[in-house]
C-alpha cells in the first residue's frame, strides 16, 4: 500500500470546506502550538468565542481581508498510517480553475455538500470536473449534519442522489463513499460520532487512511519523455550518453526494445542508471536515466516508448480544454502547446462544443470559450507529436495551452474526450478529420 495520498477538496462556498480541512488538521494534531496560538488570537480579535478552524487554512492577507481567493493552497499532514498532500481550494470555488488545478494530480477528492441543501448544481459541476480530470475516487462529505438533527433519511436521500450522478459520470459504486459529518462539531471526521448510530461506515480520516490508492498501472505500455541528455564528457565517463526523465507510464528493463518518437528510430535499453546505482527495472513515477544500444539522435522533447505499443504521432489533435484565462478563446487562435517535455506552436482550428455544467450536456459550435468553461476543440500542431488519450494516461495525455506573447498558462488540455458526456460519438482522439460532432446529447442551440 502506498503511504502517500494526494487529495483535493471541492464544494460550494460556505459548505464548510475550510472548517473541515481545519478540523482534519486539528484532530490529527497536525497544527503546532504557535500556529494554533495565532488562530486563537485572530479568532478572539474577531470576537469569536471558539477558535475558527477555517483560519488555519486561509493563507494570504488579501484573502483574510477581502475574502477573495488567489488559488489552491497545499497542506501536509500525516498519521502513523499515511502521509497526505491536500490541495485545498478555499473561497469562491465557482471558479473551475481552482478545482481543475487541485484535481489534476489528486488521487481522491473530498466533495462537500451542506446537508440542508443536498446535491446542488455546484456539486454536480464539481463532480463532473473531477470525473473529467480523472480523479479515481470521491468522498461525498455530507456536512452540517448537526443542522438536520443527524437525520438518517436526509443523509440517505443525498447519498443516493449523488451515487446516481457519480455513476452517470463513470464512477463505479466502490469508488465513491458518502460520509455524514459535522466539520464544526467534529462528528465522523476523525472520531466516530455517537450522534449517528445509524451510520456504520468509516470516519473521513479512517477512509483516507485505508482507501486503496491506484498505483501507477505497471501493465501500461512504457512511456518516457526525455527531459535532458546527460553527457559528462569526463575521462571516467567519456562515452556516456544518458537520457534523463521521469517514467510517465509502464515499466522498463534492460533489454527492452524501444522506439524514439517522433523520429521512429528503434533501439534497445542497455542500462537504467541512477545516482544510487543501476536498476534491474524501473516503473512509472521514478526519475531515471536510460542508456541505449545505438547512437541515435535523441534530445529533449522526444518520447521513448515501448516498441509495438506506441502512441499515435500526429499534428492534428482533438482535445478537451478547461479554459483558465480572462481573455476568451476563439477559433483561429495561435497558441503554444506544452506536451510532456516538448513545446510546439499550434492553432485552434475549431471550437466543437462547450460543456454545459448546469445541464451536464454539450452545446455545439460555441463562438468562444470563456474563463472557467470546458469545451472540445480541434488543434493543428506545427509538428507531429506523440499523443496518448488522457483516459489512458494523465501524464502523457495532458498538455498546457500557453500564450506565446506573455507566457501565461491559458488552459489545461486533455487529449480526447475523457468525460463520456463530452464524447459526442468521436471515435479517436487523433482523427481530427473524422470527428463529426453529432447531437445525440441533450443539446441546446449554441449562442
Amino acid at each position: 500500500m502506498s503511504d502517500l495520498l494526494r487529495l483535493a477538496t471541492a464544494g460550494s462556498v460556505d459548505d464548510g470546506k475550510s472548517t473541515l480541512v481545519g478540523r482534519l488538521l486539528y484532530d490529527t494534531k497536525s497544527v503546532l502550538a504557535d500556529t494554533l496560538d495565532a488562530v486563537h488570537r485572530a479568532s478572539a480579535d474577531r470576537g469569536l468565542a471558539t477558535p475558527d478552524l477555517s483560519l488555519l487554512v486561509d493563507g494570504l492577507r488579501s484573502e483574510r481581508e477581502q475574502g477573495i481567493t488567489i488559488d489552491v493552497a497545499y497542506r501536509y499532514f500525516a498519521t502513523p498510517k499515511r502521509s497526505f498532500v491536500l490541495a485545498d481550494t478555499p473561497g469562491h470555488v465557482q471558479y473551475t480553475r481552482n478545482t481543475v488545478t487541485g484535481a489534476s494530480t489528486a488521487q481522491l477528492a473530498v466533495l462537500l455538500v451542506d446537508a440542508r441543501k443536498g446535491v446542488i448544481e455546484q456539486t454536480r459541476r464539481h463532480a463532473a470536473v473531477l470525473a473529467l480530470l480523472g480523479v479515481p475516487r470521491l468522498v461525498l462529505a455530507v456536512n452540517k449534519i448537526d443542522l438536520v438533527d443527524y437525520d438518517e433519511v436526509t443523509f440517505s436521500r443525498i447519498a443516493k442522489e449523488f451515487t446516481a450522478h457519480a455513476t452517470a459520470l463513470g464512477y463505479t459504486e466502490d469508488s465513491v463513499v458518502e460520509i455524514p459529518v459535522s466539520a464544526l462539531a467534529g462528528d465522523n471526521v476523525v472520531e466516530k460520532s455517537a450522534n449517528t448510530p445509524w451510520y456504520s461506515g468509516p470516519t473521513l480520516l479512517e477512509h483516507l487512511e485505508n482507501v486503496p490508492v491506484e498505483p501507477d498501472p505497471h501493465d501500461a505500455p512504457f512511456r518516457f519523455p526525455v527531459q535532458y541528455v546527460i553527457r559528462p564528457r569526463t575521462a571516467e565517463h567519456l562515452d556516456y550518453r544518458g537520457y534523463a526523465g521521469l517514467i510517465a507510464a509502464g515499466t522498463v528493463k534492460p533489454g527492452d526494445e524501444v522506439v524514439v518518437l517522433p523520429s521512429g528510430r528503434r533501439s534497445t535499453v542497455t542500462k537504467i542508471d541512477t545516482a544510487d546505482g543501476e536498476l534491474a527495472e524501473a516503473a512509472a513515477g521514478q526519475s531515471v536515466t536510460l542508456l541505449l544500444a545505438d547512437e541515435i539522435d535523441i534530445s529533449r522533447g522526444d518520447l521513448i516508448s515501448v516498441a509495438g505499443n506506441e502512441p499515435t504521432v500526429t499534428d492534428e489533435l482533438d482535445a478537451t480544454l478547461c479554459w483558465l484565462a480572462e481573455k476568451p478563446l476563439r477559433a483561429g487562435a495561435r497558441v503554444l502547446v506544452k506536451h510532456g517535455t516538448r513545446t510546439v506552436q499550434a492553432m485552434v482550428t475549431d471550437l466543437r462544443d462547450r460543456f454545459d455544467e448546469q445541464t451536464l450536456s454539450s452545446v455545439d459550435g460555441p463562438s468562444s470559450l470563456e474563463l472557467n468553461e470546458i469545451g472540445r476543440v480541434a488543434l493543428r500542431l506545427a509538428e507531429p507529436v506523440p499523443l496518448d488519450d488522457y483516459s489512458f494516461s494523465r501524464r502523457t495525455g495532458s498538455f498546457l495551452v500557453i500564450d506565446a506573447s506573455d507566457g501565461s498558462t491559458l488552459a489545461a488540455g486533455l487529449v480526447g474526450a475523457p468525460l463520456p458526456l463530452l464524447e459526442n460519438g468521436v471515435e479517436s482522439c487523433t482523427g481530427g478529420s473524422t470527428a463529426t460532432p453529432d447531437d445525440h446529447a441533450l443539446v441546446s442551440p449554441g449562442p
Partner: protein, 300 residues
C-alpha cells in the same frame, strides 16, 4: 515484480529531480541559492543526483549577511570545494560599504538580503533561481507555486502566478523577469530530516546539540556574534542547544535540545509542538503577514 512502489521519500526525491531537469532543459542561466543550511544542502544533494554522473550544470549563489555562524560558512566552502562547484557570494557588507544599503537600527540583516539578491540576479542574468522554500513552513508559502514568476523588480505578485497542472511546469518569462523554483515545495520538516538520515547527508554541526553561550531575548535563545551582544539585563548562560533553522545570527534562535545525532533530531522534530520558524525565527513573528510582505518585495 521487483519494482517496489515508491515510498514518500522516494516520490519526493523523484519529483525534485524532475524539477531540476526541467529547469536545466528550459532555462539559460539557472543558479542554486546555497547558504550551507540544511534545506540548501538538501537542494544541492538532489541536484547532484539529478545530473549524475555529470557535474551539476549550475553555479551556486550565497547572499552573505556577514551575520553567519562560522561553522556554517566553513561547511559551505568545504562542500563547494568537494564537489568542484562554482560559488558566487554577494556580501551584504559590500552593499552597506558603498552606500547601496543602510544598516537597520535593530542591526538585523535578514531584510537586507533582498537587494543584493536582486542585484546579483540582474548582474549575472540568472533566469531561474532555485530556493529551498517549503510550503509547510508558513501560510503564505502554502500557496507558492513550484515555478514562481518574478517581475523585473523581483517582485512576487500572487495574482500573476500560474495554475500548476499535472507535472507540467510553465517557465516562460519575459526578458528581465526570472522564475524562482522550489523543488522542496512538497517536503515537510520531518521529510527533510528523514531523508537526511536515509541519504547520510552531512550538515553543519550546529544542527545537533552542543554547548553554547546564549542569552534570552523575546523568548528565544540568541548567541553573541558580529551581529551583536547581550544587552543590559540579558545574561549570558551556558546551555545545551541546537539550531532548527540557520539564518542571520541576530534573529535566529537556538532551541534547548540534547538531540546530538540525526536519530534524536528526528524524534525531537516528530514530537515538537512548534513550527520550525515559530520556534526560532524572529523575522517571521513580526506580523501575521510578515512572510507574505517580504516575498512580495523579492525575498525568497
Amino acid at each position: 515484480m521487483t519494482t517496489a512502489t515508491l515510498d514518500t521519500l522516494g516520490r519526493l526525491e523523484s519529483e525534485a529531480i524532475h524539477i531540476f531537469r526541467e529547469v536545466a532543459g528550459e532555462f539559460d542561466r539557472p543558479v542554486i541559492l546555497f547558504s550551507g543550511g540544511k534545506d540548501s544542502t538538501l537542494l544541492l544533494h538532489l541536484a547532484i543526483k539529478a545530473f549524475y554522473p555529470a557535474p551539476v550544470p549550475f553555479p551556486l549563489l550565497h547572499v552573505d549577511t556577514g551575520h553567519n555562524f562560522d561553522e556554517v560558512i566553513e561547511f559551505r566552502d568545504r562542500v563547494v570545494a568537494q564537489h568542484g562547484l562554482r560559488l558566487e557570494v554577494a556580501k551584504v557588507q559590500d552593499w552597506i560599504d558603498d552606500g547601496r544599503l543602510e544598516e537597520r537600527p535593530d542591526g538585523t540583516r535578514n531584510p537586507l538580503q533582498t537587494v543584493p539578491l536582486l542585484d546579483s540576479i540582474t548582474q549575472h542574468k540568472f533566469d531561474a533561481v532555485f530556493g529551498g522554500g517549503r510550503r509547510d513552513e508558513e501560510r503564505a508559502r502554502a500557496k507558492e507555486r513550484i515555478f514562481s514568476l518574478r517581475t523585473a523588480f523581483g517582485q512576487w505578485d500572487p495574482k500573476r502566478q500560474r495554475p500548476e497542472l499535472w507535472n507540467l511546469y510553465n517557465g516562460r518569462h519575459r526578458a528581465g523577469e526570472h522564475v524562482r523554483v522550489f523543488p522542496l515545495s512538497n517536503w515537510t520538516e520531518l521529510d527533510v530530516w528523514n531523508y537526511i538520515e536515509r541519504e547520510g547527508i552531512e550538515l553543519p554541526d550546529i544542527y545537533y546539540s552542543h554547548e553554547r553561550e546564549v542569552f534570552l531575548r523575546d523568548g528565544m535563545w540568541l548567541a553573541e556574534g558580529p551581529w551583536g551582544k547581550a544587552r543590559d539585563g540579558e545574561t549570558l548562560q551556558r546551555k545545551v542547544v541546537r539550531y532548527r533553522t540557520v539564518g542571520d545570527g541576530s534573529c535566529t534562535g537556538a532551541v534547548e535540545s540534547d538531540a546530538a545525532d540525526i536519530h534524536a533530531v528526528i524524534a525531537e522534530v516528530a514530537a515538537s509542538r512548534l513550527t520550525e520558524r515559530g520556534a526560532t525565527r524572529a523575522d517571521d513573528r513580526l506580523s501575521e503577514a510578515a512572510m507574505e510582505d517580504r516575498k512580495r518585495e523579492g525575498y525568497f
